[in-house]
Amino acid sequence: MSDSTPAVVEHNPDLRHHFANMEQQTETAVMGMWVFLITEIMFFGGMFAGYVIYRHLYYSAWLEGSQRMDFWWGTINTVVLLCSSLTMALAVRATQLGHRKSTVTLLIITILFGLAFLGIKGIEYWGHIVTEHQFPGPGFRFAGPNTSQVEIFFSFYFAMTGFHALHMIIGVALVSFIAYYAWKGRYGAHYYTPVENTGLYWHFVDIVWIYLYPLFYLISHVHRK
């Protein structure tokens, strides 16, 4: 989280004035990032709690709703995100080793995977909202016994995957910001905290999806082809 502009101090230009040495600064930044990720866990946690409660209350509606999910797009999206996590991890490793060129290429691949994920998500949303009118509210259409409870299921689907997609967009912006500075040679073996923190954020967003995927797409064993 803590971006860095060089401050005038002896040997390492990136050492901020109030830290004793570089190691203390890096460990502090990583700890700060993890505390921030805990707030993100609790932020999504509120929605997961709502999901668990409603799944307990209206299981039949959850089954019906899950059968309307694009099972294949969901699976492909999971694979896309896992690949983006790989390239992100390799990018962080490349920065630590000081390979500027491979860092930039890996970060760009990560951005492409991120955009691919958002594109697939867009296709899914288009399918649910426009063609099948499953966005909650007056325009909601659903033939089936539990119409109103399925509307709650879709409310959760759009809320949780919507916030996840929002975090994805922030992630893509963050990575492109880091890629630009990496391309200009800001980071290297001596200073890679921003890249590492962006990597932590990206992997966190990936982990949220790792849980969203089974909870929305794999509830019922009957899948839409």
């Binding site: 805990i38 709690a49 668990v52 099972f71």
Partner: protein, 95 residues
């Protein structure tokens, strides 16, 4: 900080196992296992999470105990929220 830099091979194998687990959980979801469907899906999801967290996020190489305590505390608080609010909904019909 001489951060532990894992070998590229390790990252690839972690990635491969993640893909395998994804395919597994997708395939298993076709079977009709009743209540075990959700249990199995969550077990696989949690193992994928651990893979990403330990290796990609480097929790395995974090030297400072306090950061690990922070991570564990975060998950425990999520558990508090889920478990205690479920005490209400699970025991609604018991009067």
């Amino acid at each position: 900080m001489s951060a532990h830099i894992a070998s590229k091979k390790l990252y690839i194998t972690v990635w491969a196992s993640l893909i395998v687990l994804t395919v597994l959980t997708a395939a298993v979801s076709y079977l009709e296992l009743g209540p075990f469907n959700i249990v199995l899906a969550l077990v696989i999801a949690t193992s994928k999470m651990l893979l990403v967290a330990l290796f990609f996020m480097g929790i395995k190489y974090i030297s400072d105990k306090m950061t690990i305590a922070v991570i564990v505390a975060g998950l425990f608080w999520l558990f508090i929220l889920l478990a205690l609010s479920m005490t209400d909904y699970a025991s609604r019909g018991w009067v």
